[in-house]
Symmetry: C2
Subunit: 661 residues, 2 copies
């Protein structure tokens, strides 16, 4: 039924709607799909802390501060994990910040949380892919000038893979995630053995990043380093958004995956930060901390070093995939509630939200290009949104648990996304969520203040603007629904008079078909020709009489060469003559075999359609006339047939407009 | 009748077609409009010769070669001028290479000449504006990093001015042309007085252009410098293309203007080259030769120096205007003959060929951006096209004059663009044209060979490609004319059966209007709903029964969520049931007040229109339903009204597509 096309080859055959529930993933694959964002942030979190600490000058002396900062971040991570685990059980249908906020706090906090998350998903793609490319160029420094091109190329490839659908994406991405975990644990393991046996050297030959002016070591700078390190927490919320993608029992599988993920994340982050300090790793523009670690532990040029780089690059690139799963899903939720264009709710042929994937890919590509694929340039914009959504989500859980606390045993409240049920442990759960909300709120403030000047201001401005736009869209949809509503009554659909006008540009086979259709409708009709050039209108009048020979052809003068205005005037005249009538405009449309040929014609049908669409009870019928290639004459042959006159029709069109005097 | 809009403010009120002949220019204004291209090339021709000569190393020692080269170019200029003067009299209706070639050599040479000229008109804009900006940045070196931005800004401004029409353009541009001539003659005059009195110093403080490798001084290099200098001839053909823009007697006025122009051009070019040699001007990336000349003659920072730079920059920027006059006119000629898209023949509201102007502006902007606004980067592409068209045009004149030679006194041959008449001096004229053709052909070959590697190859490839495309377009128009032709017979327009289908997406006020129209047509009809989601189709069925309550609503299943395919299948079924019938598709279209709001809706009317246009005798009627702002509720107010349920309609759309389990 459907022809094979290039789209099918790239993104697979269309899937039927009934195939939807089968696209679910196991814990093992779920970890690969949803954890890559969180795990991969270990690749840059340590490094970005060191870059800020190096601002204070004094070489590596202050880098030791990274250890207590990393421990503080690990504690925060435990709190957020425990808090999100509760959300997963409370919201088995998907407990992202948007749904939790909508359910417990109302529409405005939900939209703020959603705007914050959508912003951060885009940044996840930009940051992860930039960082991944930096790993690659650490190993192959000749590629440094092509960072932007490589990054954009990867985004395009990833977009195609995701347009195929999540199950296949999961299988593709399981291997790299486990490959990364293997190489990274091997690196940390051997690193620790060398450290314990006292054989761990310090790193050599790093082209160190130099700052023009050294800043004093202030609390502000330390908190700024802490903020940079907190990017390690990004992505931890991915599982709570994606619960529905898990196999049954969903909440349990998702919660187990979350705990696995957080444990691995803490181990990696602390391990990397500790070993980086031991080898005296240096922030550098051309070599990542992971590369320095690998070089020092395995030796420069060794196979294991390149495997580590490959694993890290792969997990980072795959991390972007978390956003490819979550951004379109969240955008569809917004759209479903009428806060984003409705098109975002439509699933494409492969059951994925194709519009959302495309929007993500385009905006992320632009960001990568603008930031020249530099992680350090993107980091200040990143994670503000995530911490804002953490805070809102956990505040929502606090509100929910306060309601739960008021329930008696066995009591249940319906009406929310998930019903409220009596819970004997509500006080413990409330305490966890409240601590989580307060902690993430404090980090949010630290983040916004310390990173404000270096880029966070943009996100601080962007989120309210997005929320405003969301409500503006919502307002529009409500207004349209109101305008269209029949208010439960039967509309009045009595017959009206129909006045028919045929628009005649020239008299040819297409014109004959239009007249044929008008006659077949069996209503009285008039034909009208807009006289842009007096010469042409004479020819048209004559040809009408000779070839059509029935009906009336009105010539409407247009001294300013306007096409639509004379028609609009005529319609207004008809409508004042026959109030309440339908004006039925019939016009021809030449249809070519392909787009390029179509572009060689005026396509005035579209112009008229748009121009007349604002007039009430004016309906426009287009009568297509298909032009097919009747013979494939050689163009060369044509070129050699010089002097042959152009077809009379093309000629007449030509002569009228070009001065020939 | 027409509302005031932003377009009218920028480009003026529309002009009536009858105003066309009044848009003619005097000799004085004609010189300003059509000569700026030719005259302005003196600003870079000398400099580009010196840049090539400097390739041979040895500092300024070889720059003396520029004097004999300039004299050779001046002789060539005299030959071309005399030859073109003949063309102007032979073709009072406009004697561009395209028309002369079409008239005397046939369609293929005409298309080649046209393709060459169109290419060069675009390059004229890019080269002249780049060179103009270089004059500005010679005086204000702080602006050097913004060359591209300034150049593109100027192109945009110039486009707006030209969309207003040629007469007003002429008045605007007369002042700068004469201002340039004033400052330039003053510079050369004072320069010569200082030279004669022995008080002319040599230039100091030039940041000289260094080449990495010195080339040997070969004949090839000298010919390459000659080619660069030959850019001085570009633009000399502009008057012959634009004869119809002159006041009566056109040919005489145009010919006088041509001779004026060439005389001024030779004087300026020789004068500049001579004085540049005397002050030992150096090719430089940051300072033009004109700037060095001005600085040396008037003193650095003097008012006259800045006036010279201003005059030179202005004439260069205005030179681009020659192309704004000629490119759209020539493109319209091609389009009129069916070799370019017909849209190019339509005059806009201001009687100018608006499409041609836009195409020129866009392509020239791209060239400027790609070449980073560097004249030297663009020069190798430039002038190949001009010399090709010179050669073809003069060969055409040779063929024409050979025919004239066969006529007897008083004899006349009609049928060509201008009639052939007996001419007693035909031998003299033939000799002039033949010499012109041979000389320009030799220069063309020198140009293509010596500049091939540095960029001319692109134009050498581009011109045949363009010619191929032109013939492909021509083939298409001929085929369409053939398909549409009624071959002088009356077509068969007997009544056919009409089968009507109403496409129903949802049941609302817009649906009621569609049904209202279908009923008013008084034909039997069926309604059809494509069931993308089973939940929604149930709601639609129920609402149809409740609110419309008549006619049959068919539910067509679409398991792959495709919208058009089930409709196409249904149409094919109807067509096989009722052969030869019209299938009349009626569909609704929600029309919003503005584009942004329209984009929030699916606009499936357009999608259906395109998808169904390839089916024979399937006509599509769209019934617009206008949504107006019924109340301007504050968005803030809306945002605060949390928890309010979304309109039932938006809700039902939302729920079906987003997983809510």
């Amino acid at each position: 039924m459907r022809k094979l096309n290039i789209g099918h080859i790239l993104i697979g055959k269309p899937l039927a709607t009934k195939d939807l529930p089968h696209q679910a993933v196991s814990k093992r694959v779920g970890l690969a799909v949803f954890a890559s964002d969180a795990l991969s942030s270990t690749a840059y979190a340590t490094q970005e802390m060191l870059i800020i600490l190096s601002l204070a000058g004094g070489g590596a002396a202050l880098f030791g501060l990274s250890i207590p900062l990393a421990i503080a971040i690990a504690v925060l991570l435990v709190i957020v994990t425990l808090s999100y685990r509760q959300t997963i059980f409370a919201y088995p249908g998907g407990g992202g910040a948007y749904i939790v906020a909508r359910d417990n706090l109302g529409e405005l906090p939900a939209q703020i949380a959603g705007a914050a998350l959508l912003t951060d998903y885009i940044l996840t793609v930009a940051v992860s892919i930039s960082a991944g490319v930096e790993q690659i160029t650490s190993g192959f420094q000749g590629l440094i000038p092509f960072r932007v091109e490589i990054a954009v190329g990867i985004i395009i490839l990833m977009t195609i893979v995701n347009l195929r659908g999540v199950k296949e994406s999961g299988n593709i991405f399981a291997i790299p995630t486990y490959f990364f975990l293997g190489t990274m644990f091997l690196t940390l393991g051997i690193g620790f053995i060398k450290f314990i046996t006292g054989t761990l050297p310090t790193v050599e030959g790093v082209e160190v990043l130099r700052h023009s002016v050294a800043e004093p070591l202030t609390l502000f700078l330390i908190l700024r380093a802490f903020s940079s390190g907190c990017t390690a927490l990004t992505g931890i919320e991915a599982i709570s958004n994606g619960i529905t993608a898990f196999e049954q029992p969903r909440s349990r599988n998702a919660a187990i995956t979350l705990v696995w993920m957080s444990s691995i994340l803490i181990t990696l982050f602390l391990g990397i930060t500790f070993l980086a300090h031991q080898i005296v790793a240096q922030p550098s523009e051309v070599e990542t901390v992971i590369s320095q670690l690998g070089r020092t532990i395995f030796g420069d040029g060794s196979v294991l070093y390149y495997l580590l780089l490959a694993g890290t690059a792969l997990i980072l690139l795959m991390a972007a995939n978390t956003s490819y799963a979550d951004f379109p899903r969240l955008a569809a939720l917004h759209a479903g509630d009428g806060f984003l264009p409705r098109q975002l709710t439509y699933r494409g042929g492969r059951l994925v939200f194709a519009w959302g994937i495309m929007v993500l890919a385009i905006v992320a590509s632009l960001l990568v290009i603008l930031a020249r694929a530099s992680t350090t340039a993107l980091i200040p914009l990143y994670a503000v949104g995530v911490f804002l959504s953490f805070t809102i989500s956990q505040t929502g859980m606090v509100v929910r648990l306060l309601k739960v606390g008021k329930l008696k045993p066995g009591e249940k409240i319906q009406g929310l996304e998930t019903a409220l049920e009596y819970d004997p442990h509500w006080k413990k759960h409330l305490a966890i969520s409240a601590i989580g909300a307060v902690c993430t709120f404090i980090v949010l403030i630290i983040f916004a203040v310390t990173k404000f000047a270096s880029g966070a201001w943009f996100v601080v401005v962007l989120i309210p603007v997005l929320v405003f736009i969301f409500f503006r869209i919502h307002h529009h949809y409500k207004e349209v629904a109101h305008s269209l509503s029949l208010q439960g009554t039967r509309p009045d659909i009595h017959k009206r008079q129909v006045r028919t006008l045929i628009l005649v540009d020239d008299v040819h086979a297409g014109t004959a078909l239009m007249v044929n259709f008008a006659k077949s409708l069996d209503h009285p009709w008039q034909a009208i020709h807009v006289a842009v050039s007096p010469e042409k209108s004479e020819i048209v009048t004559r040809k009408w009489a000779e070839r059509i020979g029935e009906g009336e052809l009105i010539i409407e003068q247009s001294p300013y060469r306007l096409l639509t205005e004379p028609i609009i005037n005529r319609i207004e005249m008809i409508q004042s003559e026959t109030p309440g009538c339908f004006v039925h405009i019939i016009m021809g449309q030449l249809v070519m075999d392909n787009f390029l040929e179509q572009a060689l014609h005026q396509n005035s049908a579209f112009i008229f359609n748009i121009a007349l669409s604002h007039m009430e009870r004016v309906v426009v019928t287009s009568v297509p006339y298909q032009i097919h290639h009747h013979s494939e004459q050689s163009v060369l042959q044509e070129a050699l047939e010089t002097e042959e006159p152009v077809g009379a029709w093309a000629e007449s069109v030509a002569r009228q407009s070009v001065p020939q005097n």
